[in-house]
C-alpha cells in the first residue's frame, strides 16, 4: 500500500526522498509516520521494477540533485491499482475485541472496567482526530481519511455500549 501512495505522490510531481517522506506524512494527516529508511528501501525496489526512475537536476554551485520520477510503467501500475476493486476486510482482530472475548470466556477480571478503559482510550483518539479534522490546514484528501477514522472510532464506541449492556451484572 505504501508503494502505491508513493507512486501517487510521484505522479503529482518528481520529488527527492525527504520531500516524498514529508508529502506522504502530510497526506496521511500524521497518522502514518515513516522513517527515511523505509522510503529509500521502497524507492530502490520501485526503481529495480522499472516503476520509478532517478533524474538528475543540475543545481547552481551545488552537486546535481537526485529526484525520483514516475516512469510510463509506473503510471500504468498506479492506474491498474486505482481501478482494481479494493480488498474489503472486516477487521475483527483488534486487541480490544479479543480482550473482551477472552475475558468473557475466562471470567477473569472485571469486564466493565475493561470496557471503560477502552472507551477512554477511544475518546482520546477521537479528540485527536476531530481536532486535526477541524484544522484549516488539512487538505481535502486527508480530511476524508480522518473522516474514515472518526467513523470507525464512533462505531467502536457504539460497540462498547452494546458490550456494556450485555456484560453488566444484572441487579
Amino acid at each position: 500500500m505504501l508503494k502505491y501512495l508513493l507512486l501517487a505522490l510521484l505522479a503529482e510531481r518528481a520529488r527527492h526522498g525527504y520531500e516524498l517522506k514529508t508529502a506522504f506524512e502530510e497526506l496521511l494527516g500524521g497518522t502514518w509516520p515513516l522513517n527515511i529508511g523505509q522510503i529509500y528501501t521502497t524507492l530502490a525496489r520501485l526503481e529495480q521494477d522499472g516503476l520509478v526512475e532517478v533524474r538528475l537536476v543540475p543545481q547552481e554551485l551545488l552537486p546535481d540533485r537526485k529526484v525520483h520520477a514516475l516512469t510510463e510503467t509506473g503510471t500504468k501500475e498506479l492506474e491498474r491499482w486505482l481501478t482494481e476493486d479494493a480488498d474489503v476486510q472486516v477487521r475483527l482482530r483488534d486487541d480490544f475485541y479479543l480482550k473482551i472475548l477472552a475475558q468473557s470466556a475466562a471470567g477473569v477480571g472485571d469486564p466493565i472496567a475493561l470496557i471503560w478503559g477502552q472507551r477512554e482510550a477511544f475518546f482520546r483518539a477521537l479528540a485527536d482526530l476531530a481536532g486535526q479534522r477541524s484544522s484549516d490546514t488539512t487538505r481535502p484528501a486527508t480530511a476524508l481519511l480522518l473522516d474514515a477514522a472518526i467513523l470507525r472510532v464512533e462505531a467502536d464506541l457504539k460497540w462498547l455500549d452494546l458490550a456494556e449492556q450485555q456484560l453488566k451484572p444484572r441487579p
Binding site: W32, E120, F122, F123, L126, A127, S134, D161
Partner: protein, 247 residues
C-alpha cells in the same frame, strides 16, 4: 457556600417523576462543579437523565430536591420572575431543534434575547454583527432561518445564546439534527467559543462533540457514573490509526 470560581454547580440534585410503577429518579443526587472557562460534556444512553439534568441546570425545570447555582446564585431561592432573569442573562441555551423564529431575519433572531431584555438597540447591534461574523454568517444577516441549512441554523442559535454574554453556554444535543460534516463544523465552533474563554456545558450522544471537551461526565440511570478528563488540545499528535504496513 459555593466555589467562587465555579460558573455552575449542582448539589444532591434530584428530579423525580411519578409513574405507574412508582417514583423514578430521572436525575439522582447529582453533584457537579463546572469551573469558569471550563468545557464539560455529558454523555450517556437515551433515558439516562442527561437532558433532564441540563434542563435543571438551565432553570427550565425545577428540581425535586437539591440545588443549582449559576454564577453563585442559588436557583432554588429565586421566584419564577427572578429565575427567568437568570435564564435570560446568565445562561445561554442551545437546543437540538434550533428553535429559531421563522418570520424573523437571522440578525433579528440573534438579537431577540437582547430585545426581550429591553436593551437599547444601539447597545446590541454591534454585538449581533460581531457574533454573526464569528459564526461565519455575516453575509446571511438578512435571510430567514428557512433559507439556511441545518448547520447554519444551529450556528445562528449558538450566536443567539451568546448575545447577552452568558456565564454559561448550555447545549442540549446541539448536533442531534445535523449530518457528520456539519457536526464537525459545530464542533469547531464550540471549540472556538470555548477558546475565547466561554464556559460550555453540553449534553450529547455525539462522541466527536464530547471529545472536544476537557471533561466528559458519563451518566447512567440518573447518576454520574464516571468522569473522564481529556488531555489538553495541542498535545503532540500521536499516530492513532493503525495501518497494515506491508508496503
Amino acid at each position: 457556600m459555593t466555589d467562587i470560581d465555579a460558573a455552575l454547580t449542582a448539589t444532591a440534585l434530584t428530579k423525580s417523576y411519578r409513574t405507574e410503577a412508582g417514583t423514578v429518579d430521572a436525575v439522582a443526587a447529582v453533584d457537579l462543579t463546572v469551573a469558569t472557562g471550563e468545557f464539560v460534556a455529558v454523555m450517556g444512553p437515551s433515558g439516562c437523565g442527561k437532558s433532564t439534568l441540563l434542563h435543571l441546570l438551565a432553570g427550565i425545570a425545577r428540581p425535586t430536591s437539591g440545588h443549582v447555582t449559576v454564577a453563585g446564585r442559588d436557583l432554588a431561592t429565586l421566584t419564577d420572575n427572578e429565575l427567568a432573569g437568570v435564564r435570560r442573562h446568565h445562561v445561554g441555551v442551545v437546543f437540538q431543534a434550533f428553535n429559531l423564529v421563522p418570520v424573523l431575519s437571522v440578525a433579528e433572531n440573534v438579537a431577540l434575547p437582547a430585545l426581550i431584555a429591553g436593551l437599547d438597540r444601539a447597545t446590541y447591534r454591534d454585538r449581533v454583527h460581531e457574533l454573526l461574523a464569528a459564526v461565519g454568517l455575516a453575509t446571511h444577516a438578512d435571510k430567514r432561518p428557512g433559507q439556511l441549512s441545518g448547520g447554519e441554523q444551529q450556528r445562528v442559535a449558538i450566536a443567539r445564546a451568546l448575545v447577552l454574554q452568558p456565564d454559561v453556554l448550555l447545549a442540549d444535543e446541539p448536533t442531534g439534527n445535523v449530518d457528520t460534516g456539519t457536526s464537525l463544523e459545530i464542533l469547531g465552533l464550540f471549540r472556538r467559543v470555548h477558546g475565547a474563554g466561554q464556559t460550555v456545558f453540553l449534553v450529547t450522544h455525539d462522541a466527536k462533540i464530547a471529545g472536544a471537551a476537557q471533561r466528559i461526565l458519563h451518566m447512567r440511570d440518573g447518576r454520574i457514573d464516571r468522569e473522564q478528563r481529556l488531555p489538553d488540545r495541542g498535545a503532540a499528535a500521536r499516530p492513532i490509526v493503525d495501518f497494515d504496513d506491508d508496503t
